[in-house]
Amino acid sequence: MDYDFNFSVVWRNWDLLAQGLGLGLFLAVISIGIGCGIGLIAAFGMLSRHRPARLCALVYVSAIRNTPILVLILFTYFALPQMGIALGKISSFIVTMSIYAGAYLAEVFRSGLVALPRGLREAGLAIGLTELRIKAYIIIPVMLRNVLPSLSNNFISLFKDTSLAAAIAVPELTYYARKINVESFRVIETWMVTSLIYVVACYLIAALLRRLEQHLALPH
């Protein structure tokens, strides 16, 4: 194979790549934040005593989990305006990703809640806390600590899914990679560098989150 590697064209655009990476991370952080809120509500919904609440939560979770994320992204961006809900590219993407993350996190939180000992709730009841307070001060903090590893994994996949924002022309890393690809014709270099950035970013995020997990872990 005769091919002269020339990475300089790609490196010349490092600022674009960095910007794209930054936007991707930003989108992932915002979406997981909102997604956690939605996921908590859905998880309590799935465990609720009320049938309608259980049903709603179940339909939401299984519908979103079984639908391709790209379809959801395109639906929110292109189809919702038909119903009068027109959002900008970035906000539409954040809305989609939050709802998407929420469905996955709901499942994580649900199994976290089921695994908690029953006595935890009773400890709160016995000192006169209301159900809502028990959830806020005892149940949720303990559960979140227990599911932190799954939460980290979900964040990393969410970050990788931000590459799909390129499909609606949100200028994140993959979007710029395609742009550089088309403008420079340095195809191999562009995609090698791009996937390397993703791999390294995922690796660093994973290492960082592992540190955080250790930091938040309860001393034994």
């Binding site: 009841l125 016995a126 309860l218 034994h220």
Partner: protein, 254 residues
Amino acid sequence: MTPVLKISNLHKRFGEVEVLKGIDLTLAKGDVVSLIGPSGSGTTTLLRCVNLLEDFENGSVEIAGEAIGYRAAGEVRRRLPERQIARQRAMTGMAFQQFNRVPHMTALRNVMLGLIKTKKMHRDEARVIAETWLDRVGMGQRKDHYPGQLSGGQQQRVAIARAIAMNPQLMLFDEVTSALDPELVGEVLAVVRDLAADGMTMLLVTHEMRFARDVSSKVVFMHQGRIHEEGPPEQIFGAPRSERLQGFLSNSTI
């Protein structure tokens, strides 16, 4: 004087099975009553009904003259709203067999939680009270430890401090030493004994017969959801009347 606890004709069923078949029990201020009986006799369920951790179908429980959990509306009885129930639960303190520790809070914050959130105390005031009680149960040195760093006996003492710090009218102890290694039982019983000597009104379920005999003003023997025999400890342990109680005691280690 109004009794601290008055249980009248209490009935409780789990599905088809009636586990409490009409219990009457009254505790005056300063009484220490031990509930003994084989497993399935209903002792723990009775305790849980008093703290409203279980619903009950019939009868009433009054604490300091206030009927708890339900109000009669004509013919039907209705469960009180959650806020009311939470307030009434705080009138009693409860210590559990499994300690029910809150693992992400230090011993100190475990004790402060109810003071701040239920009693709406200021943080500083809550801290002073919590520290006082942790000292009382001998855990003052370890107030900044997390439950995971403490032994079972230490966790149980923190749990007792958490309950007693709420200044309850009545303390409930549900087999507080059953989950402990034998060498840790003593330190927990010492705390309970100390509280009894202090005049605290207490209702306890226990399998420690020697302890029940030492600490109680009255012992109640339950069998199949009924009170089978009751009386002062000297009578229950020294001169049991019924065959059932004699059988039960001969199988227990004193």
